[in-house]
């Protein structure tokens, strides 16, 4: 084969570096990095900044690896959904084989390096998270049950726990509550999205709740989860990572979240279609801000603790 024939055949789908970066789902990575960093900084054990950076890089790369593995398994779903049709595999920029290779290689690297940089507990949790997202959620649950997002949400909830474990070498009530916050937040967040992206999921054959049980049941579940989430989200205020600043912020945020869920609940589909799912879209936007601000409040509390600004008699559970 001459050089000329080879280049003509392969020019069209020669991937760029940016295509590989896109495989790692950089937007999801940002949330992972932020929550893991908060988990690490809120921990009572100080970590050298270089070691903290190394641990966060490993957690981010591990999250990226599971993103690439998810794109490998979900290429057919991605191709028919408007939101995901431009991803590297369905758009033909990266092959499935490349995604699998990159995903597996980065998964192995990130776990081993986190074990060396931090400790085996953090590395074990990262390995479990990647397995959970790439296998339990992407392969087993996503196409099989409307509870996919409920159980699969655990994968997104682990990062702060891994950050905490990187600092302390273990898990605790505090890191468990950070896990619970994201775990319980995930279903209402994605169900709100599914309410106004229902056609996309139906076309792809993904059994999201609005597809299988209908919008009414989904609205009920959104309100139910918001009501269960609210007390869990406030609880960290009464642990070693919380304080009055977190308590005040969490009370406001959860009142807004429950109000948003209530507004979504009291509507029917005709009303939602009439105004272009305005309340659902607003609730979805609010849910992103809700999670970001909760972890922002924990970060603020970590800063206040670091400079000794802690109330003398604050009730702490453990």
């Amino acid at each position: 084969m001459t050089d000329a024939t080879w280049t003509q055949a392969d020019t069209v789908r020669e991937p760029q570096f940016g295509d590989y970066v896109e495989l790692l789902k950089p937007r999801v990575m940002r949330l992972v990095v932020f929550t893991a960093l908060v988990g690490l900084l809120a921990a009572p054990v100080p970590v050298h900044p270089v070691l903290a950076l190394a641990a966060i890089v490993c957690i981010a790369v591990g999250a990226g690896a599971s993103g690439a593995l998810n794109m490998y398994t979900d290429w057919d779903i991605d191709a028919v959904m408007k939101r995901t049709a431009r991803r590297p595999i369905p758009s033909g920029r990266v092959t499935r084989g490349e995604a699998l290779t990159i995903g597996l290689a980065l998964a192995g690297f990130s776990v081993v390096m986190l074990g060396l940089f931090a400790n085996l507990v953090a590395a074990g949790l990262l390995a479990f998270t990647i397995f959970f997202y790439a296998v339990v959620y992407s392969i087993w649950l996503k196409r099989a049950t409307p509870q996919n997002i409920v159980i699969g949400g655990a994968a997104g909830a682990f990062p702060p726990m891994i950050g905490w474990a990187a600092a302390t070498g273990g898990v605790s009530l505090e890191s468990g509550l950070m896990f619970a916050l994201i775990f319980l937040w995930t279903p209402p967040h994605f169900w709100a999205l599914a309410l106004f992206r229902n056609e996309d999921y139906a076309r792809a054959g993904v059994p999201m709740l609005p597809v299988t049980a209908g919008p009414r049941a989904t609205r009920n579940q959104i309100l139910l989860y918001a009501l269960v989430l609210a007390p869990v989200a406030v609880l960290p205020a009464f642990t070693s990572v919380g304080g009055p600043v977190y308590l005040a912020g969490a009370l406001v945020l959860n009142a807004l979240f429950v109000r948003g869920a209530w507004r979504v609940w009291r509507r029917d589909e005709a009303e939602a279609i009439a105004d272009g799912h305005r309340a659902e879209k607003r609730f979805f936007g609010l849910s992103i801000l809700y999670l970001f601000l909760h972890f922002g409040l924990l970060l603020a509390e970590a800063g206040l603790h670091a400079i000794g600004l802690v109330p003398a008699a604050w009730p702490v559970l453990a």
Binding site: D3, T7, E14, Q16, F17, V21, L51, A54, V57, F117
Partner: protein
């Protein structure tokens, strides 16, 4: 037209540059972590199928 002037090589160059930078950053990270761990006095030896007295915790520790 020179064989290496094809536009494909230009795109490969950008990809290779990206991979090179990532590998360079990885090396720098390993180096920085090594310096920090050495400075903090972390144990630099692990079990290697032979008993070394310095790895046995002292009594009372």
């Amino acid at each position: 037209m020179r064989p290496d002037s094809h536009e494909l090589y230009g795109r490969r160059k950008s990809r290779n540059l990206g991979v090179g930078l990532v590998l360079g950053a990885f090396v720098a990270l390993i180096f920085a972590v090594t310096i920090v761990k050495l400075t903090e006095g972390a144990s630099m030896q692990a079990f290697d199928h032979a008993l070394r007295p310095e790895l046995v915790p002292a009594a009372g520790n």
